[in-house]
Symmetry: C2
Subunit: 75 residues, 2 copies
Amino acid sequence: MTIPAHRRAFGEHLRALRQANGHASQEAFAHHVGLDRTYISGLERGARNPTLDVIVKLARGLDVSPAEMLATIDA
Amino acid sequence: MTIPAHRRAFGEHLRALRQANGHASQEAFAHHVGLDRTYISGLERGARNPTLDVIVKLARGLDVSPAEMLATIDA
């Protein structure tokens, strides 16, 4: 299954924000935001299609704006 | 059912972007982006929880960046 470019970009940016935010492991970050580690892993690989509710939850866990979560996705 | 603030903000901004983009009716815009009119109506009322794929599709239909779609949602 080819991964759409916007999901790949979202996942790579999520990983970069997570690491920059001091959450070295997906496990710790998953616990911090109340999501499952395997779901975080899937998001970062571009294998999942998160909803607005999830994007806002991730943004709050990373202390960034929801818009920042999509900042690297081209129009 | 109380509508979460971030879904309300998303819906209001979607409506404003749609109207600013010249799509006077939800019907015309729904056709333009290949989505159902009732789904667009639900999004604008904050009654739906769109996925990343849908947010990107809406952004392209409105000629704005995906991040702009979330610009009015507070962190």
